[in-house]
Symmetry: C2
Subunit: 468 residues, 2 copies
Amino acid sequence: MSILDPPHTVLTVGARLFDDALAAQGVETTAVDWRPPPPGTAGALATIAGDPRAAEANRVAVERMASARPEVVGIITAADAFGIGGTQFLHAGPPITWDRASGPLRGAIIGGLLFEGLTATAEAAEGLGPSVELQPCHHHRAVGPMAGVITPSMPVFELHDTVNGTTAYSTLNEGLGKVLRYGAYGPEVIDRLRWMRDVLAPVLGAALARMGPYDVRAMIAQGLQMGDEGHNRNRAGTSLFLREVVGELVEVGAPPSDLSAVVRFIAGNDHFVLNLVMPCAKAAADAARDVAGSSMVVAMARNGTDFGIQLSGTGDRWFTAPAQTPKGLTFPGFDDDDVNPDIGDSTITETYGIGGMAMACAPAIVRFVGGSVAEAVAKTMSAYEITFTESPHLQMPTLDFRGTPTGIDAARVVRTGIVPPVNTGMAGRVAGTGQVGAGLVEPPMDCFVQAALALAESVPVPPSPGWQ
Amino acid sequence: MSILDPPHTVLTVGARLFDDALAAQGVETTAVDWRPPPPGTAGALATIAGDPRAAEANRVAVERMASARPEVVGIITAADAFGIGGTQFLHAGPPITWDRASGPLRGAIIGGLLFEGLTATAEAAEGLGPSVELQPCHHHRAVGPMAGVITPSMPVFELHDTVNGTTAYSTLNEGLGKVLRYGAYGPEVIDRLRWMRDVLAPVLGAALARMGPYDVRAMIAQGLQMGDEGHNRNRAGTSLFLREVVGELVEVGAPPSDLSAVVRFIAGNDHFVLNLVMPCAKAAADAARDVAGSSMVVAMARNGTDFGIQLSGTGDRWFTAPAQTPKGLTFPGFDDDDVNPDIGDSTITETYGIGGMAMACAPAIVRFVGGSVAEAVAKTMSAYEITFTESPHLQMPTLDFRGTPTGIDAARVVRTGIVPPVNTGMAGRVAGTGQVGAGLVEPPMDCFVQAALALAESVPVPPSPGWQ
């Protein structure tokens, strides 16, 4: 049999041109998805690989993140947590100004102005928009889902990690549909936010105080055993949290109608604990910051215009690129054109190794974002290619209790061309719309390229060998 | 290379004698677990296979069971549900008398006498034991986990299936540890049962009345998406049920201390909804009864001494054999010798196609019963070999949303030698002990052999061909 005789299976690596040409001739091919590192990165990757500090730096960074055990310690106001007031608002993602803000972020700022009573109408609020002082949640040890707008009088969960000494914050989850974080600002949105501030926060805060510190990592670990992945599916976690806190809730002495409303609000929102999972991941990732020489990703976040990442070894510097638009399933009445580019701090879950990184343990989510079970497993398997280790605490039963892929290595992302898998809610492009669907999205490779180049620049030049 | 030259892999089928002999000579073998049908069954299997009614009968039986959608409609007393009083007690499994009862059943009867206030001491109760009128729960459209003792003043859940018009009952779950159903009867057991009757039942009953009918099949379906298998793991189902009912619970106007105790009791018991899952399965299985010619199993139940099954085509007749002893993990302080033979009506879950039959969707349970994930998947795959269909309503995400194996065919069990996989709690052998562990157990093949023989006898003899 000659090598030219059919049938053969041809393995094609990298560029699809050869694969396509063979396929056009009826030849069976198996295409291996491999790309050479982007032009201009080879030197930086070599420098990073040759940094004598790297191995220990990455070991320290990932160990800190993986060992974190953040607990909810209470609910306080954003003003107290962040020292903000007036029109000082926080937002998701890397820094941005009103003029570059997308529809959902502008919508949430408008809603925030109305919620704070700083103006009476949406039109007036829109006029005030450019004067709002915007700062990223991440600059205040906080994370906010979607638009992530936090205004001074909002209540926020406070989490503390006694292992590493970090603290993190997030708002309370509003539920789905027309909600501020998706850019909606109608009266029902504002009324709900005020009820959350005036009733939910004090009642739940009193229950949390009675209960004592609540171990969020343990809740996530249980949730992963029960079909959650911690980003777009938190049904199990929410159910477990409610079971844990409900005995305290009924004992805080709240007026019966308030108690009933609080219990029904939490019980009715499958995403309630997303706003505990996110600050848990934030507290863990922050513990890994500022290890010189580490290429580990400590933040991935989107403001609806830009996607930004930060590395442990490059301090507070953001590496940004235009946010991509998620692909998935839109709700009835919406289509792909209605979807805003990727938005929110919720990619802190993927930074921590759950969410899209752990989709293998949440087969039920794949239908929600328009995929298959095999695709979900493939996403998680790809994540192992770009991470330093496997979590000793967060395990996936469907992968025979393998630990979640933990500690994204920006250098390996650049070298392999594999970006961290992310699943996400989709916000309407137009301010005021709300959620229009859910899907998958790819972080832009350029963020990782820039980060690798910057990290390489920080590697000390070895002293030249002397002759004396 | 001669056929006599090593190495070879030898496939051995059936009896292990040949396999063992080869293995002893260092030959690598792969043993296929196949057994010929037990002696004396070939004729009966041929008769059943040749019954012209069989295909339609089995189609009708399995369709009724699979279509059932039982709902909780309320809580009533056992006296009202079953018309029992005084020392008329129900028990799990096929019929049995005190003299043949095992330790845990005797312990539960002693506890029942104390609970009803029919005697003041355990010693006196033991003396009264032989005079208690025992009847199987199954004879009263009821099911009880483990000892399954139901006494007249106990509260029971009432379920109704509007699709097929069946009704089923079960007690309220006591939690784990020292509890009546495991044969414990100490003061804490009796006090808890009285609190359940006097506080839990009226408060929860009032909440259920406010809520309206509760769809148990939908809860099971959700639980299977969240790592439950419905028999030994009901953590998700319990969490979801509590989320559903808690809004009503806080609004029934119960005294705060009672509300608190009720909420904490349900929230603190991962097995609370086992006693909803079981009567749901019972109502579904009962819908499939009495279809002439059907070899479908409609009950599997154990009384701690005997394992018994019933077929759709053989009416109320029990086919029994000695119950086997479960193998698994015992709690600290106990070992295999402390384990009582298999006990309880909870095998109604396997009859319905969940529990051990659906272990593939509950990887987390396999560690609890001492197995591996691969074994759990293998158990479910084996169950497909002996069932008529796959549930259109109950799906397993880990098997790519395949429906649970539904409708056990007693004839196929006999023909293949595969018995339905069962997982179970393990009761202490000595009356008063309580739970000592959890594990796996095999229903005795002889039950299925007897049932097949009886079904074959019921097949009408075809008229002999005439000559006129």
